[in-house]
Amino acid sequence: MKFTLVINGAPWSSPSARTALKFAETALSSGHEIYRLFFYQDGTGNASGYCVAPQDEEDIPARWEALITKHDIDAVVCAASAHKRGILDYAESERYERDGANLRPGFTVSGLGQFIDAATQSDRVVSFVT
């Protein structure tokens, strides 16, 4: 199966980001394909390179980055959601004159149309809601 996952929750704020991560890891190890990960609303926080995980908690953004990099997954962060939450890639940090870019490697910022496109190309869309 080709999956598209929609991640709506910020890391640690609710269980949903971690549920999504475990689902993604399991789907891949079960032999399925992830067509796209779409990070929406508070879910864009999973792409932040500025999060510092407490030592005794899972580093959820780092785990996403590792998964995305290892499996070369298309990980899209919704631009409108990301901007409000201060998740910016280099081009945007320049454009909006912010001091630094914090989008993690492996993620790209794009529009909500990328979700619609992914939905048409995938066998299953699974949303992880807060």
Binding site: Q41, D42, I116, T120
Partner: protein
């Protein structure tokens, strides 16, 4: 692009208390812009998004009801209000915009069953 898919957006949240209503509408509008078949249903607390006379000027909030009125202009084919939810809220249906159709439990279940994508907000 491949054949259009059908999207059913279930708007269950009250306005202004969370990002859910806007998130729902953004998906509905994007899907419609990409020529998908889109239906939006206001149910449970979502019917409160349809209360008339929402005056957001002093609160600085973006008025959600204006966008709801424009949904069909932006190619969202169907906008529904769930009758049992409206009745429970004692919402005056005569004050709901004409282009919003009433939907029963049975019809809603049918839409849930038949739509390619059902998203809950």
């Amino acid at each position: 692009m491949s054949a259009p898919q059908s999207y059913l957006i279930l708007a269950r949240s009250s306005p202004y208390g969370s990002n859910m209503p806007k998130a729902a509408l953004d998906i509905a509008l994007t899907a419609a812009a990409f020529e998908q078949e889109v239906a939006v249903v206001f149910l449970d607390d979502g019917v409160l998004q349809l209360l008339p006379n929402q005056d957001t000027e002093s609160s600085g909030l973006k008025n959600g009801s204006k966008m709801i009125s424009a949904l069909k202009v932006y190619e969202v084919q169907h906008v529904y209000i769930h009758l049992p939810s409206a009745e429970k809220s004692e919402l005056d249906l005569s004050k709901v915009p004409d282009e919003i159709e009433a939907i029963t439990d049975e019809l809603l279940q049918d839409l849930v069953s038949k739509s390619d994508h059902v998203m809950v907000f």
